[in-house]
């Protein structure tokens, strides 16, 4: 045992990091019952500390009381109806660049279509909160990711419908693009205004797009 390593040093080392035992401390403990007991007590305290830090997250699932209210991304029933009654009628073709960008984004995340299990409410909330939007939907969301798009972070969601998955991108910053349907490569979609911005809904060509779109829009609360 080093002459310089006394009980004070031992307790500092134990209290600082009870899981680690230096050779000096080891040697000291071999001759000091009081410090051995101190270490045993500190290890027991640490077990309690670990349990104390492991808070139940059930309580965290409730909305935080001080969180700022999210802006609601409401889809007016009349807008939905107009789109659906219009059937295949093209309102205005969205600027090709926007449709191309949406499809390009979707194309680069092929895994987004592969999910089966709904994402956690926490992840979905985090993705939506970053955009400051509220998007209530009854259908399961199987993919949720905050994605860079045209200089903004936007929620990229994939919603599972009875007719297959649909991608929904909430484009709050897209305010002046014409609404309308588009076909780009293997994908079909629609850009429509919602809330203060727009949303883009994209399906693969082999899907019943109108049916799936209706499922999504019907599912919006």
């Amino acid at each position: 045992m080093s002459n310089n390593f006394d009980c004070r040093h031992a307790r500092l080392e134990i209290g600082g990091d009870p899981q680690v035992q230096s050779p000096e401390l080891d040697a000291h403990l071999a001759t000091c019952a009081a410090c051995t007991q101190f270490r045993a007590e500190t290890l027991a305290l640490d077990a309690r500390l670990r349990a104390a830090f492991e808070l139940s997250l059930t309580e965290f699932r409730k909305p935080a009381s001080k969180a700022p209210p999210a802006r609601r991304f409401a889809l007016a029933a009349s807008v939905v109806l107009a789109l659906l009654v219009g059937g295949g009628a093209w309102l205005f073709r969205p600027q090709a660049a926007l449709a191309a960008d949406v499809v390009d984004h979707v194309t680069h995340e092929p895994d987004s279509w592969q999910g089966h299990d709904p994402v956690s409410p926490e992840l979905l909330a985090a993705v939506l909160a970053r955009a400051g939007v509220h998007y209530d939907i009854r259908l399961p969301v199987i993919y949720a990711s905050p994605c860079p798009f045209r200089g903004h972070i936007v929620p990229h969601l994939v919603v599972q419908t009875d007719r297959g998955p649909l991608t929904v991108m909430v484009l709050e910053h897209v305010k002046n693009e014409p609404e309308g349907r588009f076909t780009e490569g293997e994908y079909r979609g629609i850009v429509m205004r919602a809330g203060a911005g727009s949303i883009a809904v994209v399906a693969r060509n082999d899907q019943d797009f109108d049916g799936a779109l209706k499922d999504v829009l019907d599912g919006v609360r």
Partner: protein
């Protein structure tokens, strides 16, 4: 067309990784901020920042400390940006948070309240060590302190909590 960032981790795999680690990030942020709403804001910002910087994470095994570092920085940035007032330890809102409750274990709840009342300079290294799993040298690097200073702070943090646990405090390390 916009160029999209491409990382070593596929986007969907990275999303799953974030989802897996999120509970620990929320806990970590809560113990730092002592306020649930602030903790949730911090974690949301952390997830976004992590997503944007995902190319920097070369080894997913290092994801946890990497994310904890981002949480710490986002927490500091939040206070800097919003100029949130420093809260007196007796007025910490989280002291009444139902998340502190522990079924049938009042001692654990007392310990949680005692941790919340530790000064920041003691609580932060303790959270990094016990919850974050960082070594004292890693904490020293994270907090820009010497390892000796970290050891002293951790010793004092535990020393204050010993009394809550019904143990006599040790002589101070000064």
């Amino acid at each position: 067309m916009n160029p999209r960032p491409r990382g070593t981790t596929a986007p969907s795999a990275f999303t799953r990784l974030l989802e897996t680690l999120r509970p620990d990030l929320v806990r970590f942020a809560f113990w730092l901020a002592r306020d649930r709403a602030v903790a949730e804001d911090v974690v949301q910002e952390t997830l976004i920042r992590a997503w944007k910087s995902r190319d920097e994470l070369k080894d997913t095994a290092a994801a946890r400390p990497w994310l904890l570092t981002i949480v710490r920085r986002e927490h500091a940035r939040l206070y800097e940006r919003k100029r949130l007032p420093t809260v007196d330890v007796d007025q910490v809102e989280a002291l009444g948070d139902p998340a502190l409750a522990s079924d049938g274990d009042a001692g654990l709840e007392d310990l949680r309240r005692a941790i919340l009342q530790l000064p920041d300079e003691y609580r932060e290294p303790l959270v990094l060590q016990v919850l974050g799993g960082l070594s004292t040298s890693e904490i020293a690097a994270e907090l820009k302190l010497t390892q000796a200073a970290v050891l002293t702070r951790l010793f004092r943090a535990r020393n204050r909590l010993r009394t809550i646990y019904g143990l006599p405090p040790a002589e101070d390390a000064e």
